[in-house]
Subunit: 280 residues, 2 copies
Amino acid sequence: MTEVLRGKNVSDKIKEDIVKDVEALKKEGIEPLLKIVRVGAKPNDISYEKSLIKNSEKLGIIAEVLELPEDITTEGLKLEIESLNRNDKVSGIIIFRPLPSHIDADVISSTISPKKDVDCMNPLNLAKVFDGDFSGFSPGTPEACMEMLDFYGVDLEGKNVVIINRTMVLGKPLAMMMLSKNATVTVCHSRTKDLPSITREADVVVTALGRAKMFTKDYVGEHSICIDVGVSEDSEGKLSGDLDYANLEDYVKMITPVPGGVGAVTTAVLFKNVVKACKL
Amino acid sequence: MTEVLRGKNVSDKIKEDIVKDVEALKKEGIEPLLKIVRVGAKPNDISYEKSLIKNSEKLGIIAEVLELPEDITTEGLKLEIESLNRNDKVSGIIIFRPLPSHIDADVISSTISPKKDVDCMNPLNLAKVFDGDFSGFSPGTPEACMEMLDFYGVDLEGKNVVIINRTMVLGKPLAMMMLSKNATVTVCHSRTKDLPSITREADVVVTALGRAKMFTKDYVGEHSICIDVGVSEDSEGKLSGDLDYANLEDYVKMITPVPGGVGAVTTAVLFKNVVKACKL
């Protein structure tokens, strides 16, 4: 019997803990406040922003938007962020990415205070993750994968994990997190040769290629724990993960659906980081 | 026929290039200068220092030692480094590690200017390596491994590499460097289960466990390229690598000796970084 790892259960548990933490913080006179920095008005950004505001209200966290013009300069954006860094009322800052191409993203990432950097943009926080030091902030999606595995009782000690993604928003930080849990970690990517022979042997497979239904039974076995972080449209225009879910859901050991899997946990992880920022 | 990958050949080639670069820099009026910061007088540090000075002379690079008392405070050491950061004559800075335990090593690492950080201590340089951005500095030992493979014509594209080490001075940065060359990378460690089954399948095996002669024929095959970064004493008190060299040198595809392998390349890499610092 395949166990379906639904994100909602994980997210509900994290949010439950956040509500308690927020209550405790408020008793100490601390009002958690997430500042959302949006440059321009891309539809994706606005829809994410709405979802954050809706979630924040349920958690007792204030989410405020700082909307900035599309044509703001790097220096102008830097000054805005420095002002948020200095503002004691602001607990955490998230800047929607990607920024317009005329802005120097490296300058902006380094400007955000490491202590308010709840989306893990600052290289100082990334260097900590690299070093296996999780006292700072970690990127949201790999953190959501870790929360998922932890919630469903998957102990990574001594496990063989294969991650098919080598980006800074998923594969690389996730590899560091899993190494810290004593997993043996293999990072694969588009240039990997004979991928099925590698993924079949793994205890845990994390996919994030964005190729709908690519991972068939050829890639996994009955022992496989499959975490799907891929999101793309299938041939019928429906949202799909990298896993051939219909054929795997009665075959592998554990599986995350798309939608309703890892993606459903990332917002909770972001707000968990806002609470963490209040405590730093 | 096993090909023995000797470090001296690699080191000689790197040094040859350095000498040319130094000549060109001097024509532009730039005198490359490495500042060696030594706290206390540990015998290991002094012997490494002597070797650096000897090498620097041959390369036309100035190596100067700043000797500081064992009981210097974090704040005191920080001031010394800030002074070196401001000094335009200083091209690169290396601080011998480990520092005495009363010193906050994180503060010191962050103090050293990223542009003079030839031993890659500053988290900003480590974050770049994590991101696969090699415009800054990389740690010496993994860089030496990459120089070795490059010199002997090993193309990592599509290769399966297994690294047995997950430290910040070797395994993790090496994994990032190899991913950037499109290798599929597995990071193993002391908690990895059934290590031989993993290493036997790999095209390239990099060992750094410090367990003399542990890697026997059980761990590798005739196709294996074996890079040995382990250094320890064998049962007879002789310096040895992790590889069972006597039994592998006529068996595997390529092998690095210990001593005379990767270790012989690290000093050249450090001075290559001093030249790079002059150009930044």
